[in-house]
Amino acid sequence: MTDFLQVLFVGIGDGAIYAMLGLGLVVIYRSTGLLNFAQGEMAMFSTFIVWTVWDLGVPLPLAVIAGMVGGFGVGALAHQIAVRPVGDPHEKPLAVVMVTIGLFVGLNSAAQLVWGTLDRDLPPLFGSGGIEVAGVAIAWQKIGAVIVLAVLALGFYLLFQRTGLGLAMRAVASNSESASLVGVPVPKLLMLGWGLAAAVGTVAGVFTAPGRGLGSNMMQLTLIFGFAAITLGGFDSLLGAVVGGFVVGIASSVVPQYVPGFEKMPLAPAFILILAVLLFRPEGLFGRKQVQRV
């Protein structure tokens, strides 16, 4: 039982990270209708910014905030110079998907160019200690990840549901032409969405780096888990990203431990989840069904 709880808590901590990345994916899906393949690399790049600021002697929490600001800039810039010139993602979805793959490669190379190919060490944001409850050790870092995720998710919820800016972002997502006709500056809001997605990704990177080592490829596995999370939760649902993140995190931690044959395939549960959801409930747990009025 203790062993199981231990494995469970590891899964919850990982799941919170997948959910953070998932939140960013959902924000971009809502505005473009597409998956952003560069989401993980944007997170990696801005985590390097965190590291650089921290390395200058700035306390880590402040460095994280600086990294989020930098990440916002990276996301916004990526939209302005790479995504927007290609055209309307609703008209040319494939072209924009290719651009996000290009951004993936570009950011990865840029990070290697700037910070080299050796892994850097980023200390855990919440320290390396933990608490022990009934024989189960829980790292502060895992608890911190869950709390930070809750704050981020609540922040996004309030932004989208309670502010005029969020209302405009939802309007752009639902019908960008009509939003434009009522005077909403659509390109600016799309840029804002990309910036926010990258900023929230920074946090996912900050929680990933201490365990895996801060390197240019560190977010690639996390991105696949993030895809699995939002596939399960529903591409356009923030709540879905959170729930999906935890389910994927727990499944990826528990299944290899207890199901024979999965020991050496840590990614398999996530892929099986993606496949099962797409087969039996393509809109995910909380996503909106695509209904076409004819």
């Binding site: 209302l167 939802r170 997502a173 009509s178 939003a179 434009s180 006709l181 009522v182 005077g183």
Partner: protein, 230 residues
């Protein structure tokens, strides 16, 4: 507007259009499918690049972005209504007031919910789940939320039952009587449109082929033949 030319890519749709709308005037542009009606409105609202002069209140609108055109006082209800389906009725109205920064937005939402009782009954319903007529009324109410001085209205009768269309026009007439907003309407339903408007233009293949007071065009032989089916 003077000598308006516009098109999509290399396809030119409008060939030098001259068209006037006075303050508070109700003007209709009649024309068949593909004559350039929608293109005309899209050129005015900045959704399309155009050549020629578009002047509103003494100010040139050329090269302005759609949001700047709205700010200038022009609202556009697109063909197919353009309600934002994933937002509720109230949210649609609120987004309609995006360019406004005053404190009367909430009061205006109540005002339009009273003016269109069907909207008032469905304040928190998603726009996408409403009937076509309700969506058309929502689209019109949303356009008025920006307090425009000119409303561009693209085929409000499209896909609506005749009774519903009549209701939409009745409501619109009440509103313009009260607000004094000028309307540039494009329509295929000539009977209704000519009853509604004071003046009319007839557009054919990107050129104006007839114009005059609506009452006069109603009795014009070519118009009757082409659009009234008499």
């Amino acid at each position: 507007m003077r000598g308006l030319r516009a098109g999509y890519g290399i396809v030119e749709v409008l060939f030098g259009l001259d068209l006037d709308v006075d303050a508070g005037e109700l003007v209709v542009v009649l024309g068949a499918n593909g004559s350039g009606k929608t293109t005309t409105l899209r050129a005015v609202s900045g959704m399309l690049e155009s050549r020629g002069e578009i002047v509103f209140d003494g100010r040139s609108l050329r090269g302005l972005r759609p949001d700047q055109v709205v700010q200038a006082g022009i609202a556009h209800v697109p063909q197919g209504r353009g309600t934002i389906n994933d937002l509720t009725v109230v949210e649609n109205l609120r987004i309609g007031a995006w360019t406004r920064r005053d404190s009367e937005v909430a009061a205006d939402i109540d005002l339009w919910c009273d003016a269109f009782p069907r909207l008032g009954e469905r304040r928190d319903q998603l726009a996408g789940s409403m009937s076509g007529g309700e969506q058309q009324m929502l689209a019109i109410a949303r356009a008025f939320m920006s307090r425009p001085r000119l409303l561009l209205l693209d085929e409000p009768s499209l896909g609506l039952a005749p009774l519903v269309t009549a209701e939409v026009f009745d409501r619109l007439r009440d509103i313009t009587d009260r607000t004094g907003t000028a309307v540039l309407l494009v329509e295929q339903n000539a009977n209704l449109a000519l009853d509604f408007a004071g003046r009319a233009y007839v557009l054919e293949a990107g050129e104006i082929v007839a114009s005059g007071p609506a009452a006069q065009l109603q009795h014009d032989e070519t118009v009757q033949k082409a659009y009234l089916g008499i």
